[in-house]
Symmetry: D4
Subunit: 248 residues, 8 copies
C-alpha cells in the first residue's frame, strides 16, 4: 500500500481526482517515530487532535510525540491520565501547557475549537466522582462543547437530583458519572429524553470491586438506551458526547 508521495504524484498525474486524493490522505497519513506512529491527520479525519494516553509511556516518548503533533499545526493536544512527570514531558515540547490536576489532564490549546451546538450536561453522583466528571467536562470543552456541571446529586438524596430537573432536561446529551452501585444513570435515564452516557467510577466501599459493581449496574440499567463507558473513562464519554453533538 502506498504512502504520502504516491498519492500526491497520482493526483498530479491525474490518476487520482481531488476527492480521491483527499480520501487517501485521510486514510493513510502518519509519521513513524519507530516507537510510535504519529497521526497528523486524525484532526482532518475525525475532527479531533491526537490525544496522548500517558500511562506506560516513557517521558522522552511523550515529549517527542508532543513535539511532532504540535509542529504539524492543528488546534493543540490533550494528554490524559497525566502525572506530574508527564506534565513536565509535555511542557518540554509546549511551555504553554496547562495541567488540570483534579482531572489529571494536560492541555495545549493553540486555537479555539469550533463551537458545537447544544450542551453536554456532566452529572456526578458524589463529590468523589468529580475527578472523572472533570476529565469528561474538560475534554468536551477542549473539543468545542458547551458544558453544564451538575455535581453531587446521587440517588440516596433524591431531592437534590429532582431540584436539577430543569438543567437535566435542557441538556442535549448527559454524561453521568457514579461509583458505588451506579444507580444514577438509571434514574436520570428515566427522567430525560436525550442520550445518556454512563461512566462507572472506581469509588466505593468493599465489594464495589474498583468500579465493577457500578459497571455491571449501568450495563443492566432498567432505563433503556444508556451507553456505558469503561470504569473512570471520562475521556471516552466526552468523545462520544462530542460525536453525538457534531451530528451529520
Amino acid at each position: 500500500m502506498d504512502g504520502w508521495g504516491a498519492v500526491l504524484r497520482a493526483f498530479r498525474d491525474g490518476t487520482l481526482d481531488e476527492a480521491g486524493a483527499l480520501e487517501r490522505l485521510k486514510t493513510l497519513s502518519f509519521e513513524d517515530l519507530g516507537f510510535a506512529k504519529v497521526d497528523h491527520h486524525r484532526a482532518l479525519r475525525q475532527g479531533f487532535p491526537e490525544v496522548i494516553f500517558c500511562p506506560g509511556k516513557a517521558a522522552e516518548h511523550i515529549t517527542a510525540i508532543a513535539e511532532k503533533l504540535l509542529k504539524a499545526g492543528g488546534p493543540g493536544l490533550l494528554a490524559t491520565r497525566a502525572d506530574e512527570a508527564a506534565y513536565e514531558a509535555v511542557r518540554r515540547a509546549a511551555p504553554d501547557a496547562i495541567y488540570q490536576t483534579i482531572a489529571r489532564l494536560v492541555e495545549v490549546r493553540r486555537a479555539a475549537p469550533a463551537p458545537l451546538p447544544g450542551t453536554v450536561g456532566i452529572v456526578s453522583a458524589g463529590s468523589a466522582d468529580i475527578p472523572v466528571a472533570e476529565e469528561a467536562a474538560l475534554v468536551a470543552e477542549a473539543l468545542g462543547c458547551r458544558t453544564d456541571r451538575i455535581y453531587d446529586v446521587g440517588v440516596a438524596g433524591l431531592h437534590r437530583l429532582l431540584a436539577q430537573l430543569e438543567r437535566l432536561s435542557a441538556a442535549s446529551v448527559l454524561i453521568v458519572a457514579a461509583g458505588m452501585e451506579g444507580a444514577l444513570p438509571s434514574v436520570v435515564g428515566g427522567l430525560v429524553d436525550c442520550p445518556v452516557i454512563a461512566v462507572p467510577t472506581s469509588v466505593g466501599y468493599g465489594a464495589s470491586f474498583g468500579g465493577l459493581s457500578a459497571l455491571l449496574g449501568m450495563l443492566s440499567s432498567c432505563a433503556a438506551g444508556v451507553g456505558v463507558m469503561n470504569i473512570d473513562n471520562g475521556f471516552g464519554a466526552a468523545m462520544l458526547a462530542t460525536k453525538i453533538l457534531r451530528g451529520k
Copy 2:
C-alpha cells in the same frame, strides 16, 4: 451433653431451677430421623415453625419431616422452593396444605400466628420480581406480619415510585426486591427512615449474571443502612423483617 430426660430429672431433683430447665430445653431438643434431625422446639426457641427448604430433598424425606413436625403440634409449617412433587409430598402428611404457585411456597396453617405490630412493606421494581416479593410477603404473613404490597415501581419510572411515597413512609420495615441493576433499595433507602432489606433477584438482561449485578449494587448502595439478602431469597428477608417487628 445430656438430653431431654436428664434435664427433666435434674429439674425434679432440684439441681436445675425452672429458668435453667427451660433454657436447657430450648437448647437441646430435636428428634433424630437418621437422614434429618427435626427440631420441635425451634418454635419455642425462635418463635417460628421449622421451615423445610425443599431443593435436594427426596419426596419421602419431605413427607416424613412434615409428619413429625405436625405431630409435635405448633402453628403449622412452611415448605419453600417447592415444586409440584414437593407439594404432593407435604400433602401426604397434611391434606390441608396450600400451594402458592407464584411464590413456590407450601403452607400448612394449624393456628393463626400471633399478630405482630407494624407493617412490612413489600416493594418490587418490576413485575418479573413478583415471585420473590410474593415469597417474602406470604412468609411474613404466615409469621404474623401485616403486609403492604407495592409492586412495579422501578427507578426508570420515578413518578410511579414517588406516587407511593406515603405508603412507603407508613411501613415499619421495607423489603425491596429488584433485579437488573438493583438500584431501587438505594432510592427507597434515601426516602424513608425505617430499616430497608434489599433482595436482589435473578431477573435481567445479559451481564446481570443471574442477579450478581443487583447483589453487588445493593451491597454498594449509597444509602446507608441497607441490609442485603442472597439472590432471590425472599424467605430470608421475611425472617429478618419479622425479627425486627418482634422487637425486644
Copy 3:
C-alpha cells in the same frame, strides 16, 4: 403527590398554567393493574411506546398490559425477548401482532412512526450475531429510523469490512454487534467519525463466557468514544441510536 384529576382541576382553576399542567402530566401518568403500573404517557414523555420485556412475565399479565397500552391509543407496542407463548399472549390483545422470529420481537403497529433524519447502520461481525443485530434494526425502524444492514464483516476477513467503507461512512450512527473477542467496534470506531454503539453478543467458543469476553473487549476498546450496551441488548442499542438521531 397528586394524580391526573388534581392536575386537570388545578389547570381549570388557573393555579397551573398550560405548560405546568403538561409537565405534570408528563411526570405523573400511569395506570395501576396491581401487578404492573402501565405507563400511558411515556410515548408523550419519551416519544416512544411502552415496550414489554417478556421474560419472567406470566402470559395473562402480558395480555393485560398489551390491552391497556393499546386502548390508550398511541403508535403501537413492542414486546422483546418474546417466545411463542408471549406472541400468543400479545395476539389475544392484538390479532394484528407480527412475530419477528429471528429477532424474537412482537410488533403491533397502529400508526407509522414519525420518520427521523439520518441513517442507523447496523453492523454484525458474523452471521451468528444476526439475531441481536435484527432486534436492533427492527426496533430502530419501529421508532422511525431508516436503517442500513451491513452483516458478516468480522475483522478476521478485513477485506469484507473495508469493501463496505462507503456505507459505514454514510451512517449517522452505527450499531455494531459482535461476539467472540468483540474487536469489530474498535476497528469500525477507527474508520468512521459518527457515534458507535457496541453490542456484545453471547456468541463464541469456550472462554468467551457467554459474551463476557466481547463485553470486556468493547469496554476496553482502543477506539475512543464507543458506547457499550449489555450482552445481546440490541433493543437498548436501538433506543440509544434513536435518541441520538432525534437530536435537540
Copy 4:
C-alpha cells in the same frame, strides 16, 4: 422545583398547610457548595447528622462541608474512613474533633444523642476484625445506642462463644463482624432470636480474596434472616441497627 423560600411563602399565604410545609422542607432542603450539596435537614428527615465519607475527597472540601454542617447546628458530625489528613481537615472546622484511630473515625459531638431503647451487641470473630467492629460500635453510640462489645469469639474456639451466650441473648440486635470464612453470623444466628447484621471483613489468608469469601458465606448463611453489609462496612451496620432500635 421550588426551594426553601417558596415553601415558606406558600405556607404564609395559606396555599400550603403546616403538615405540607414540613413535608416539603423535609424533602427539599440542602445547600449548594458547587462541588457538594450539603444536606442540613437530613438530621430532621432521618434523625441522623450528615456523615462525611472521606476517601476521594480533597481536604479543603472536607473542611468546607464540616463548617457548613456545624454552622447549621445539630448534634454534631461523623467522618468515616478518615486518615490523619482528613482528621486535620475536620479539625480546621471543629477544634474539638476527636479521632478514633482504630476505627478511623472522626467525631464532633455538640449535643448528646437521644438515647435509644435496647442494646446493640457488637461481636467480632477475631482480634483482627476489631477495627470494623469498633467503627460499628462508635457510630452506634454516636447515634444514641447502648452497646455491648463481645470480641474474639470465633467459631474455631466454640467454648469462647458459648461462654457469652447470656450477653448474646440479651442484645436487641447483633452486629457480627468476621473475616476468613465468615461463619460466625451463621452460628450466632442459630443461637439467638433477635435480628443479626453480618459484616464481612477483609481479614484472611490467601483465597479469602479481600473479604469475598466471608461475604459469600454470610449471604449463603444457613441461619435464616441474617442481613448482610458490604465488606468492612461497620458504619452501615450501625446505621441499620439504629433504625431497627428506633422502631416505629
Copy 5:
C-alpha cells in the same frame, strides 16, 4: 522405555533383582485399549482398585474398561458419577454390579477389602448434602474403612452438633460435607483433634454459586489444618481418608 516382558526377562537373566523387578512392574504396567489405558497394577501400587469416573465416557467404553479390570482379578471396581446408562454399561461386564442411587455409585465387589484400623466419621450439614456424604461413605467402606454417619448437624442448630460431640471425638478422621456457607468444618475442626477433610457441596440459595461460597469458606477456615476437596467430591475425600488410615 521397556514393558512387562523386558522386565521379566531381565529378572530371569539376573540383571534385575526381585526388588527392582517389583518396582518396575509397579511403575510400568497397563493395558492399552486405544481409547484408554487400563491400569491393572494400580491395585498393587496404590492398594486400591481402578475407579471409573463416568461422565463423558461412552457406554461401550465403560463396559470394555470394566471387563478388562475384572478379568485381571482384584477386589472389584467402583464407577462414580454413574447415571442409569453407566450402571447398565457396567452390568454388561458384571451382572452382580450394585447401583447406589443416592450416591450415584456402581460397585462390583469380588473380595472383601482388608479392614483398616480406626473409623471415618462422615458428617453432613444438611440432608441435601447427603448424596455427597454417601459417596464418601460408600467409597470408604469399599476400601476397607469402618464408617460412622453423622448427618444433618449444621451450625445453625448448634445443639444438634454438640449432641454428637462424643461420636465426633471418637473418629480417627472426619469427612465434613456442607453447602451454603460451608461453616461446619470450621466448627468441627475447633472441636476435635483428628484430621478434618472438608467437602463443599453445590447445595444452596442464590449467591452460593454452585458450591463456590462453601469452597472459599472452607479454604479460608479459621480452624487450622483442614484439607479441602473439590466441590461435591465425596470420592476424593474417601480416598484421602483411606490413605490416612492406612498409615505407614
Copy 6:
C-alpha cells in the same frame, strides 16, 4: 475500494502487474449472500477451505453457504460443532458429506489435500478429552497433516505417559488436550523440543468451572513456550499446527 472487476480491468490495462493483481484478488474476493459473505478465495489466500462454525446459524443458511462454497470448487469444506440438524443442512448441499459424531465435525472432501511434511501428535489426558482431541486430529488430517493419536496418558499415571516418550519425541508439533487441572502440557512441554499447543477441555469435577481451571493452568504453565487455545477448541489447535507445518 474496488472489487473483482476493477482489478481485472486494471490488470488488462496494464496499471496493475500480475503480482499486484493476484495480491488484490487475494485481499478482496468474496460473495455476498446478504446474511453472510462467502469467501471463495480464502483457500487461495490462506491455503484452507472456508470452515463453517455451526452454532447459532440457521439450517437454511448453512445449506446456502455450503452450496456457494462447493460450487466455487476447491478441496471441500468442514463444518464444526455440528449437531444432527447441521449435518442434514450440509447434506442437502453435499450428499457425500460425512459426519464424525465424536468430534461433531462434518466433512466434504472433494480433493485430497496436499500432504504436509512432519507429524502432528495429538495427546489426550483422559478418555473424556477424546472429543476435543478428535476434532483436532480430523481437522489436521483434512488439511493435509499426518497425525499420531496418543490418548489417555494423564499425569496421575506418569508411567503411561513415559511409555510414549518415543512417539512424543518423534512429532513435529504436539497438540495436548486436557481437562481438570490441565497439567499435561506442562509435563509434555518439559519432555520434548517441538512446539506444544495446549487445549483446555471442559472436563472435570466441581471447581474446574467448565474448563477454566485447565485454561488458567495452561496459561501459567511452568514449561516455557506453550501456546494456549480456547476451551475445547480442537479446531483452532489444528489450524495452528497446520500453519506451523507449512512453514515458510
Copy 7:
C-alpha cells in the same frame, strides 16, 4: 456457663468425676484480655501451643498475648506471617524468640516437642515456592515432626522429580507447594501411596492471579485424594500433616 473455679470445686465436692472435670477443662478454659481471649488449654485439648496469626494485630496486643501464653507454661509459641515489628513485639515478651526470615515465622521454644513417628516430606516446585515450603517445614518441626525437604522439582523438568522418587516414597505424608499451574501435586499424587497435602502458592506470571490458577488446578487434580490448603498456607499444611502423623 461456668469457668475454671466452678469446675474444680465441683470436682472437689464430688459432683464431677475426674474424667468429667478434665473434659470440662478441655472445653472451657481461656483468659479474657478484652481485645482477645487467650486459650491456655488448647495445648491440652489439641496438643499444640496457641499460634499467633500476626497480620492486623497491634504490636502491643501481640506482646500481651505472648506474655499470657508463656506465663501459662507449655512448650512455647509460634507467630506466623510475622514482619520485623511483630518479631520485636514477641521479643518483648520472650527475649529468646527466634525469627525465621524466609518463612516469616517467630518461634519461642521452651521445651522440645514430643517426637512424632514417620516423616513429613516437604516438596516445592520452584525455588520461589520455598518461603511457603519453609513455613510448613518449620511449623511441622516445632510440632515434633521429622521432615525431609525436596525442593525445586517442578514438572517441567521431570527428571529432577523422578530422581527423588525414593525420598518421596519414604515419606509418611507429603506437603507439596507449587505456584503457576500447580501441577506438581497431581504428578506426585500419582507416584506415591501416602496422603498428599497440596499448597498453592502465589508465585507466577500474569494470569496466575495471585495463586488462583494453582489453587483451581490442585482442587481439580486428576490424582485422587489430594487435600488442598488455601493459597500460601504452609502453616495449615503443617497442622494437617501433624494431625495425620499423630494418628489415633
Copy 8:
C-alpha cells in the same frame, strides 16, 4: 533411578550404547544446590540455555545459579523480569552482563547463537506494549532468530497497520502484543498465513482488569489458529516462536 556416574560406567561396560547413553544424559543431568537444581544439559536437550525467572528469588541464589550455569559453559544465560538488584546479582557472577531496561532482561552472551532460518515479526498495538514486545524480541534474538519490529499499529488506526502489510506477510511467525481489547491478533491473523502468537499485555483503562480483557479476547479470536500466551509473557512467546522456526 541412576545418575551421571552410573550412565557413564554403563556406557564403558557396554550395557548402554552411545545413543542410549546420550538419551540418558539428556534426561537426567542437573546439579543440586539445595535451594535449586541447576540444569546443565537443558541446552543439549532443548537447545536453549537455562533462563532464570527472577521474581521471588533471593539475590544470592541468583548469583549462585548464574555461576553454576556459566561454569558449565554453553552459550550464556538470560534473566527475565529482572530489577536492578537482580541485575547486580547476575553481574557478581558475570561482569559482562548487559541489562536491557525496557524489557527488564539481563543477558550474558558467551557465544553467538546458531542463526535460525526465517524471521520473527514482533508487532505491538501501542507504544505502551513495547516492554512486552521488546522482551519477546530480545529473547528471540538471543536464541538465534532474526526479528522485525513493527510497533504502534493498533486497530483503531487501521491505515497504520495496513501500511505494514508487506512486512507482516514476509514474517515466518508473528508475535503480536496488545493490551486493552486485544483485537490486533484477530486482525493480523486474518491478513497473514503464518502462525500468530498472541500476547495480551496488562495495558489498559478501567475494566481491562490487568490484561484479562485482552487475554479473553485473544482466546476468543475469530481468526482461527492463534496461540495465546499468558499476560505480559513476551519470553514465552519468543520460546514458542523459536521452536517453530527450528522446525524438525
